[in-house]
């Protein structure tokens, strides 16, 4: 007999793809990203696009994110977002 395991969906079942990765960001007074602090500090040259997502407002932990599509001084393109609920920054492909 297979017992009612009551497990949450763990690696043995399925797992989400493209989870956000925490990243250190230097922001200016208006809250926009100025530089990315990875191994070394890389300045944000251009903010190409920005958009906001508010979702799952009915849940205990609603989603509120402000995304930035930026180009760094190295020429690398990056999609970042600021979690407006917790104030943390993340990197995520959009």
């Amino acid at each position: 007999m297979v017992e009612d395991t009551g497990k949450t969906l763990r690696p043995d079942t399925c797992k989400p793809v493209n989870m956000p990765v925490p990243i250190k960001i230097e922001e200016n007074a208006s809250g926009q990203p100025v530089a990315v602090k990875q191994k070394r500090r890389l300045a944000v040259m251009t903010i190409e696009d920005r958009w906001r997502i508010d979702d799952e407002w009915w849940r205990a932990e609603p989603l509120s994110r402000f995304y930035y599509n930026v180009i760094l001084a190295s020429g690398r393109r990056l999609v970042l977002y600021k979690d407006l609920v917790k104030g943390d920054w993340y990197e995520q492909e959009y």
Partner: protein, 397 residues
Amino acid sequence: MKLLCVLLPHFAWRCETRRGIIPFDKPAIVTYTEGSQKLVMDFSPDLEDLLPDMPLQAALARCGNAEIIHADIPFYWATFNQLLDMLEQVSPLVEGPDPGTIYIGMDGMQLIYPDDNALIAAVKGVTADFAPLGTMGPRMGVASNKFLALLAARFNTTGDCHILNGDVNAFLKDLPVDILPVSMKSRSKLRDFGLATLGQVAAVPSGPCQSQFGPEGKRIWELARGIDDTPFYPRYMEENIEESAALSSVTVSLDVIIVAIESLLGRLFDSNTFKGKGIRSLTLWTRTWNAEHWEKNINFKEPALDVRSTITRIKRTMEDYPQPGPVERAGLHITGLGYPRGRQKNLFRDIRAQEHLKEDIKQLELKLGNPQVYTVKEVEPWSRIPERRYALIPANR
């Protein structure tokens, strides 16, 4: 036929107190939803003014300070099935039509139990954990059919077992017509005719009763005289297979729920639980974030032998019967297994290659543990939240 009926009062409330959701000494109401209406399923014993199935608003008007809990029906059934499993050690003939109501066959038990009292004492011993002895203890009644056994138990508040023998009509004559297991319309019509007790109904000839109430009239008349031919269905001994999982996030998306169910089915088919049999029938259930319960029984014309054929049918059912709200938990209860009549093996090499690949992955997992190879599956490709769009599922499922 001699039947013992055991009623466990406030079973749902007791299940909740046993698992610590509500304190034992605090008034509480367990509710369920029917359509858009919230109704009372059960309540703590001190709330004497309440009745099962009454609207929640009416219940709150009578006891506004009661804590409200939404019924967790799968949990009540799981607890009830555990109890029935234990009772099957006392008597092999056990039927549990609803959580809290049990019928036990007493015929042919003389070699194990010298008399009825010994059997009753054994049943009391098993149920003591679910309903302690005393005023809140199990109510027991013995009679020759289900209806009489139920009434004998229901109107027995002494804590002992009420054995109904002798003049059944004398026992029934003063009982109200509201206890008849017939439609609400018929019960109210009986009252309109001035027939308030079973004795009064029994005094009416069968013919007029049938002409007024149709086919139900015959049953009303028979029940009022203590005649009940409802068959006794002891539990069918079959493996009880249950799988459930909490979703990683509350969702309204059918695709996400389907992926979770597919994963549960994969786990079942992989575990060799079915031993070459296919799924003949299953009960699919979900629980929403506000604790509403959704359940559907699905029967298969031909036993389903793999995840693909099972999930196709499940998907169609889920499309036809929408969820009552965002789902946080889904589960399957396999209620029937069966052997297929015939099975056609794949003829084409490329399909066989797929099977070989699956077998290799399975070997790899047996060797290294945990899923090693995953495939990317579209879950909610339209979602604005990137991590909800795709999921990795084990490749061999």
